[in-house]
Every structure is written in C-alpha cells, then in structure tokens.
Amino acid sequence: MPTGVRPTRRYEWATFEGVWNRQITLFKRYWMSSTTGSVVQPIIYLLAFGLGVGTLVATVDNISYVEFVGTGSVATAVLFASAFPGMFNTYVQRVFQKTYDALLAAPVSVDELTLAEGTWIATKAGVYGSFPLVVTFFFGLAPTWGMLLVPFIGFLTGLGFAFFGMWVSAIIKNIEQTSYITSIVLTPLFLVAGTFFPISNLPQGLQVAAQFNPLYHCVELVRAASFGWQMPNDLYHFGVLIVFAVLTWLLAVAQLRKKLVD
C-alpha cells in the first residue's frame, strides 16, 4: 500500500508544498545571483534617472522627482523579477532539464504546476519589487502604512507577468526568441508605464495604450499607497491587474498543457 494520502481534489496543498519546497531548495543555492539580478538593475535605473534627470526636473505632480521615480521603479523591479524567470526558468525546466515531465509523472497536474510556479515567482517579485521603495527612503521618501500593501501589489502584478512569461516560454521555439519579447513587448511596457515620466504628458494615443499596460496600473497603485489613495480609480487599477493575471494564467495553462501533454 502507498504510504501517502490519495489525492482527490483539483488543486491540492501537497503539490504546492512539493513544488515550492523544490524552488526553495534551489533558491538557497541561487539566492545571491537571483537577488542581484532582480534588484540591482532597477535600482541602477532609479539612481540614474532619479539623480541624473532629477537635476533637470525638481518635481512631478508635486512629488520630488526622486520619489516619483523611486515609487515607479517598483514596477520595473517587479517586471524583471517575474517576466524573465517566467520565460527563462520555465523554458529551461521544461525543455532542457525535463523537470516538468518528472513532476507530471507524479500526482501533479499542469494547472497546479503552473499555479505553483507562478505564485513562487510572484512572491519573489513582490519582495524584490519593494527594494526600490526602501532605497528611496534614503532619499527622503516618508514611510506610510499604505506602503505595507506594496509587496502585495508587486505580487499581483508579478503573478500576471510570471504567467505571461510562462505562456511565452511555451510558444517560442528556442530560447533566443525571448529577445523578441524583451525588445518588442517588455521594453516599451516598462518605459511607458509612468515610471520615469508621467503619461499624462504623452500624446492621446499613447495615453490610451497605457491603460492596457499592467505596469502602468502597478505604478499608479504604488504611488497611491505612498502618497494617498484615490477611490474609485485605485479599485479600477486593482481590477485591471486581477484581470491581467487571470487572463495570462488561462493562456499559460492552455499553452503549457499543449506542450507537456502529447
């Protein structure tokens, strides 16, 4: 007789525990490089823009420019910590290491695997995403209670981008093709998100386009958490991020299932 308890439900805790355990064990090996990769780059952007452009621009929307960029950089850090692992790690584990084949031979479904991997990446993105905010404290940003929600905002945004990356990883034919996504999709997304300059100064067309950019909604929420909520706008931003995560989750599951189940 098997020693384990028979699985019966569609989503089971044991699967998440197993997949997360694996990632935590791996993370203990890689936390240094993983953290550096996800944290340093956004902070460099923050310092370059904040201190560089900050000498030309004193305030934006009554916020000091460093604080404007510092709060906005949360979205950049979240993006780097979610879309890239979503694309690369998922591709490597599926294609090169065949890890997913091993997991799916155990009592794990594609749905559970996708959700477990996605929430793991999103959790890291929520933590890494908060770093730029902490750095900005040193430039005079005042801590508020609302900022406690920032890791959660990062998690929600990161969840959508993790699933987006996983979806992409199951579409591309080789790992080089990720550069199309990076240059054509992700770069414009993080530049036109209101991180470095307010989108209200942009042409009408781009302003409308920004409404479809999840990072813009992330930036708005982080600023709201830092400088004051604006209802019902902020609920709308949350709503968009939830829709984004659900949509990319469905796409990622469907595409990964296509690749993992013959």
Binding site: G4, A14, A106
Partner: protein, 270 residues
C-alpha cells in the same frame, strides 16, 4: 513483471506516457489500478512509480534532496519522509552518496537514483521505461539485480525494453510490440516454444551461398532469418541432420526472443 519488447519507435514510451496521462490516446479507454485515465490520472499517479527513459533528476540538488522532494509530492506525511528517503537510498545503494549533487554521480548511480525516486512512496505499480538504455554492460547487470529484487518483493512492474536479454531475464510475461500493436504475448519460454522452437543454428558464408541456403531451407519447410553476416535456421532441432550437415558447419545456439521478434515482424530490434 510484464515486459514490453520492441524496437525504438514501436510505441513503448508512448504507452507509458498514456498510462500516466502525459499523452492522450486518440481512441479506446485506459484504466490503471481501477482509475480512469486521464480523468483520474492524478489518483493513479499517486499509486504508481514512474522511471522515465531520459534522466530528469534535478542535477543541482543532492541525491537526498531529489528524493525528499518527490516524497513530498507523493504525499508521504512529513514525519515519515526521512525514513522513506533512507529506504529509497538503500534500495539504490546510494546511502554513502546521499549528500552528493546529482551532477557528481556516475551514469549508473544516476539511473539507480532515478529508480529509487520512483519507489520512494512504495507504489503498487512501477513503470520502468528502458531502465538500462545507454549504460555499459556491467552497470546494466547491477541494475538487473536491483530490478529483480523489486520483482521478488512482489511489486508489479511494467518495463519497456529493446534489449532481448533484459526481457528474457527479468520479465515473467512479455508482450512483443511492433508499430503500436502487440504481436505476441506470453512467458519468454512459451513465446520461444510457440514461434521458434528451442534451438537455432547459424551458418556463415558469402552472400550468394547464404541466399542459396535460404532457398533450400525454405523448400524444406524451415524458417530462417538473416542475422548480419549469417543466416539462422530456426527450430533446427526439427530439421534432418543430413540437411543441416549439407549446409556446412553450423553453430548451434538456444533460440531467443529476438528470433521470435524478427520472425513475427520482419523487423530488426535496435
């Protein structure tokens, strides 16, 4: 143990993947341990152990970590996991390498670990997909004793292989597979007896000479097969000695499952 014997591309791995729900059948119905596949494939998988053909261990993790990860996935209660991992390490004879990273293990050790991973939860059914493919003969022997030990403990095993010797030594029951179909099924002994008799005799010679032997044997009602530079007369125990002598110096050997396979399918196992 049931052995699926057939050449690469016969559908052995696909069959294995269908049993775990990792491949979908286009028609028909599959049940594993009374679970409907794919609808209840998760339940079935929790009672099965799968040892895939391609090594998909986590190379950056240690032997022990690889096992405990699967102990969790197979829902072994937390308290019982260390014991389950120890037991699996013992089966794989990797007790002294538990803290070695997989990337530091030899090919044979990795394969043993892969098998141990499929056994960590004491499954009722074990799927072994080409368990010794690509390993050198000595390592293969080691794995055979490991698999044989499992079999003697009473674990039900489904093993695919394209090695004749592997099927003959380990399988209680063999299904000969070709192009996705079972062409014969029975114990190795019964298959040999039914299809190729007990003795085979090989004759060597120039191609023209071999062609002539083939013709003569056929006229005499004897089955033959080509075996590289020779032809083999099957069921030679039934042939007249005079006829065999006229073929020249033949080498007698025991009939084997390869003879059965080639005779039934006209294909070569490789």
């Amino acid at each position: 143990m049931l052995g699926l014997l057939g050449p690469n591309g016969a559908g052995k791995s696909t069959t294995m993947r269908m049993l775990t729900g990792q491949a979908r059948a286009t028609s028909g119905r599959i049940t594993v341990l009374d679970h409907e596949i794919p609808a209840e494939s998760k339940q079935a998988r929790s009672r099965m152990g799968v040892v895939p053909q391609t090594d998909n261990l986590d190379i950056e993790l240690t032997a022990e970590q690889n096992l405990s990860m699967f102990a969790a996935l197979y829902r072994i209660p937390r308290r019982e996991r260390p014991a389950a991992v120890d037991r699996a390490l013992e089966i794989a004879q990797l007790g002294d390498r538990r803290s070695s990273k997989v990337s530091e293990l030899s090919g044979g050790m990795k394969r043993r670990l892969l098998i141990a991973r499929g056994l960590v939860h004491r499954p009722e059914l074990v799927l072994l997909d080409e368990p010794t493919v690509g390993l050198d003969p000595q390592v293969r022997q080691e794995l055979w004793s490991l698999i044989d030990a499992l079999r003697s403990e009473g674990t039900t095993i489904l093993m695919s292989t394209h090695y004749i010797e592997e099927a003959e030594r380990l399988a209680d029951d063999v299904a000969v597979v070709s192009h996705g179909k079972i062409v014969a099924r029975g114990t190795p002994h019964a298959l040999r007896k039914e299809h190729v008799g007990s003795r085979a005799t090989e004759f060597y010679g120039a191609p023209a000479r071999l062609a002539e032997l083939e013709r003569t044997a056929k006229e005499a009602g004897l089955a033959t097969r080509r075996t590289g530079p020779s032809i083999t007369v099957l069921r030679s125990e039934d042939a007249e000695d005079r006829l065999l002598d006229s073929f020249g110096d033949g080498v007698h050997r025991q009939a084997n499952l390869e003879d059965v396979f080639v005779l039934l399918t006209g294909e070569v196992l490789h």
